[in-house]
Symmetry: C2
Subunit: 171 residues, 2 copies
């Protein structure tokens, strides 16, 4: 499909790598990256394993994190718990190499397809953060309100990798 | 892996289908669904196609939407633009049948694996909301700041399906 909006007119400036959101048609059908950051300056990010397709994690980027991710080809998030840029793998070595960055229709969510050095992305030690499930059979939860583990073994020992760093999980 | 927390003690009551978040260990390593809703009462949801693994959409649920999704086995979201429960497919017929519901480590994000009646999930007419990408080659964006379409044809005509309903995309 060939978008019929005038993209040349909205080319981003060098100081701002992203285009302005000038119309719904430009955002939905255009070929310029014009992300929407929320009231906190953040955009949610879904990160999947490029090969298996598994969802690894859900995180957030601010404008700078998204610009850095595009610049270095490795996932850089915004850590809400630490309130700082978070180059994933800087501590653990489990760097996420970006193979593809997708944006959704209204450009308020990023889908990052990555290869993970070391094969794991979860601070608890699992490959994916989503290591528990409720399965459905014929439209009904097989085990209502009870979660089943999808990974039996941790991919790494979080204590060995993160030491005494505070656990980011908040109640 | 067998969790060693005492799950029996935290069984949810009938009036509230979800467990209380009593400790980090219970949330991360337990087998009870104990979701965290944000300051607006919402939890982000990643929805993927059960067969292809493709990310279809990113949306939100409140407590009732999540409870209804578990009860009827079809995706029910909270529409932030319309401020109401949103049984996906009620208007378009493109119902999402839940095959698996996953929760992440700190239980503040849901991953829904669905089968889509009609095969499309995006209000613009595409199969996935994520129909545009930046590809990376050797760590560099192949087309910096320019998006490439991944779907060449729309799966349905949004005007025929939604009529004059307002476009949910906000600038």
């Amino acid at each position: 499909m060939k978008p019929d909006v005038d993209d040349e007119a909205h080319m981003p400036e060098a100081s701002n790598p992203f285009a302005e959101r000038t119309s719904v048609e430009f955002v939905e059908e255009g070929v310029q990256l014009a992300p929407k950051f929320d009231a906190h300056g953040l955009i949610p990010v879904i990160t999947t394993d490029f090969t298996s397709g598994e969802v690894l994690m859900h995180a957030y980027m601010n404008r700078e994190a998204l610009a850095q991710t595009l610049a270095i080809g490795e996932a850089v998030y915004w850590s809400r718990s630490r309130q700082q840029l978070w180059h994933k793998g800087a501590t653990s070595g489990l760097v996420q190499k970006v193979r593809e960055l997708r944006i959704d229709d209204d450009q308020d969510c990023v889908w990052l397809r990555v290869e993970v050095v070391g094969g794991a992305s979860c601070h608890v030690g699992y490959r994916s953060c989503f290591y528990r499930r409720v399965q459905f059979r014929e439209g009904k939860p097989a085990t209502p309100s009870v979660l089943e583990f999808t990974e039996q073994e941790k991919a790494f020992d979080p204590k060995a990798v993160y030491g005494d760093a505070p656990n980011p999980t908040r109640l």
